[in-house]
Amino acid sequence: MVEGLVGEPLVRLHKIVKRFGPVLANDRIDLEVREGEIHALLGENGAGKSTLVKILDGLLQPTDGEILWQGNQVTLESPVAAAALGIGMVFQHFSLFEQMTVAENIAVSLPPDDSLHDLNVRIAAVGKRYGLALQPNRPVWTLSAGEKQRIEIVRALLREPKLLILDEPTSVLTPQEAETLFGTLRTLAEGGCALLYITHRLDEVKQLCSRATILRGGKVVAACDPREETVENLASLMVGSDVAGLRTATERKVGQMRFEMKNVSMRGEGSHGRALKNVSLGVRSRQILGIAGVAGNGQSELFAVMSGEWPVMKDQSILIDGQPVGHLGIEERRGRGAAFVPEERLGHAAVPRMSLSDNVVLSRQRTRSVVKDGLISRAGARALANSISVAFGVRKGRADPPASTLSGGNLQKFVVGREILRGPTLLIINQPTWGVDAGAAATIRQSLIDLALRGTGIIIISQDLDEIFAVSDMIAVIHDGTLSEPVGVTETNRDAIGLLMTGGKGAKHAA
């Protein structure tokens, strides 16, 4: 990268605070981006990056603090206002219209006073200048994720932004497409555009960025020049290795193989679906396997395949207690002693408008006191819902309220308790404590450990490294649809896992 082209400070965020009710998403954040600079914004999920960037794009208003643009204080009331100043944003999730062509998708996003004259020519010109080849007349659904992203970038570039914000741009790209993107970004920076690059991937940051601001827990923990730091340093700043990483091995004696997956590959569903590539894993009784990973790397697909919501395999690739179950649906797998907790509490694990006693029936159809001969016992369901609430400390206000009235933590305790009280021999749980208060999180984690002690094999998928380390015996990392080799928790530490999560050394790369 050429030095000396970085110019004046373009935008400065000064002591930005953003509060959502009791949650402090951004805590007095200072950030400064200069013209021609490629500035990285680093941090784990929940560190506050998305909130900060939404404030910069005019989607959210800060609770406190100032935004200075070219030295003047400004308020960004909407994305339109931000765009008028010259701020462009490329989101992680695209706002595209699959059935329409590339040119139509771009035309739709341009302001009303743009005459759309010679649009194809302009698209070609931008494409040539920044290395973003696009065929204007192709329907978007035929494009790869990388090509779709180019549409979003061209959308932003056609408005000639002074600051371009990119949110996790390489999460959907192959290594080759990422290289092309870097070329584009460097050209933009050389032209004087400021770039704010949000990512987890530390090797990219070192390749591309001259400045990095690191967030953790809503605060800025460091601002540095990534070229002068090691990847390990950056990772530890991001995930915070001051928290005890090593854990003493538990006294659990691991038993027989409960669940196995062998070389499972799946095509992703929909435009944001992430494919699974040759995933193999196994968990034994009294063992907890933690699967760490940044959101969007195939966790939902993995869960759907393991739970049987996508029963597609007819061969031996999924086994419960040694028996093939790939072709069986979720209820049959429950019949083999398995239990599942999906990521989405409302809408997937529970029906929001139905009562807790109704929701109990969803996964407890084989419990004779609840469902017998096709009939639901209201009393039995209520009693079970009550025992779950009592055993897991679910605070619910009324005796049998609708699921949507419970707080996140309480509903999660209920949903987890519903499965644990069954005494399953296998439990697979996706994001056990996402969006849950600390007390409920502690209860849930402890109950998982206790369950394992009683002989169950548990698989946890989680974005929370603290949790993974607190609870797991073995840890694997899912990245881009592939799973790393599981390692014992005592043989690794947060830095190494954090590295794998960001696609660093040790992770298997996409074929």
């Binding site: 919501e309 999906p342 469902v371």
Partner: protein, 357 residues
């Protein structure tokens, strides 16, 4: 200025019960305005439509007679609507049920066969309606074709089929060339319940169906599956409920009950087959179902109110020279009010100043 809506976190039971009541009041109000526009007295209309029919025995019986097919059809529609399946073709299933159910009475005509005829006729009618409803169901399951259009097109096909049969092969040879079948023998008709009126046993059948429906929807796993499929499809998948099987069962039940309503109407009320056996029961039942908030017992009240307006409309035609179409308009307005009231209880609505969304 625009309306801003956001989903409520919790829907109070009270609001859910009051919503249709409020809807009825608003609809009555609007109906009153229309009566005024037609140059008549709204107050008198209120009495004639809603109060008078409740005061005489024979009108009460008419209420039950008209309510019976509505209750039967709406009971079936609840299974479909609750799982987000739009069976608009209940009218056609009603017709086919009547046709298939009449096979036996026509075949045994003149043989003084006995009451087993009516029992079998009822069963065959239900089966006929169920099988006819299977067509849109399978088209949806196999090909993904919208059940709205297919079930509706089949209504016209069924009605034309009936027309053909009563003008052709099934026409009463001694009927002076009128398009109607032979009048059914006593063994092939539903027994009368009252000596001084026309009330037939269909009402008992309807109430039994209501009871069974209530039980199935609230107590059985199948009923639970229906409810979950409509509320949260992902949760239905989580519970292992097979979506395709749900479509088939919902339509079979809905078609079966509509078919049952058809044969009940023919063997109870009409006594023979003729080209027109329904004043649009299959469509009116949709209003009834929504008015009853898609609840198996609530729809009885919905049927009550709708039948009341139908009978009130007939006497208003004589007493006040108000056209029958007013009843139809009222039904449309009522359905709209029910939907609007439903919205208010599910969403919080505010008027917000600002640009268009």
């Amino acid at each position: 200025m625009r309306l801003d809506i956001e989903p409520r976190a919790e829907v109070s039971k009270l609001a859910q019960l009051l919503a249709p009541v409020l809807a009825v009041f608003v609809a009555v109000g609007i109906g009153g305005l229309i009566v005024l526009a037609l140059g008549k007295s709204p107050v008198q209309a209120l009495f004639v439509y809603f109060i008078d029919p409740l005061s005489q025995s024979w009108t009460l019986q008419e209420l039950a007679i008209k309510g019976t097919p509505l209750v039967l059809i709406a009971s079936g529609l609840v299974y479909c609507f609750r799982s987000n399946l739009w069976n608009i073709g209940a009218e056609g299933q009603f017709t086919v049920g009547a046709i298939v159910g009449c096979i036996l009475p026509l075949a045994t005509h003149g043989m003084d066969a006995g009451p087993w005829v009516i029992v079998l006729a009822l069963i065959m009618g239900a089966i006929g309606g169920a099988l006819y409803a299977l067509i849109p169901a399978m088209l949806k399951v196999w090909f993904g074709v919208s059940e709205i259009l297919t079930s509706l097109m089949l209504v016209y096909v069924a009605q034309l089929g009936l027309d053909y049969l009563v003008r052709g092969p099934w026409r009463d040879p001694k009927g002076f060339n009128f398009p109607q079948s032979v009048v059914f023998e006593p063994g092939a008709t539903l027994p009368n319940l009252m000596s001084d009126g026309r009330l037939h046993a269909g009402i008992i059948l309807a109430l039994i169906v209501v009871g069974i429906s209530w039980f199935v929807l609230t107590r059985t796993l199948f009923g639970f599956a229906i409810r979950v499929s409509g509320e949260a499809p992902k949760a239905a998948r989580f519970a292992g409920f097979n979506a395709k099987r749900m479509v088939v069962f919902a339509f079979l039940i809905s078609g079966g009950l509509a078919g049952l309503a058809g044969i009940v109407e023919v063997t109870g009320q009409i006594g023979q087959l003729q080209p027109s056996i329904s004043p649009g029961y299959g469509f009116t039942a949709i209003t009834v179902a929504f008015l009853g908030r898609l609840h198996p017992v609530g729809l009885v009240l919905g049927a009550f109110i709708v039948s009341l307006t139908v009978i009130g409309g007939e006497s208003a035609q004589i007493a006040m020279k108000l056209p029958l179409d007013l009843t139809t308009v009222f039904q449309g307005v009522l359905l709209m009010c029910v939907l609007a009231a439903d919205c208010f209880s599910t969403y919080r609505v505010r008027i917000v100043s600002g640009g268009a969304r």
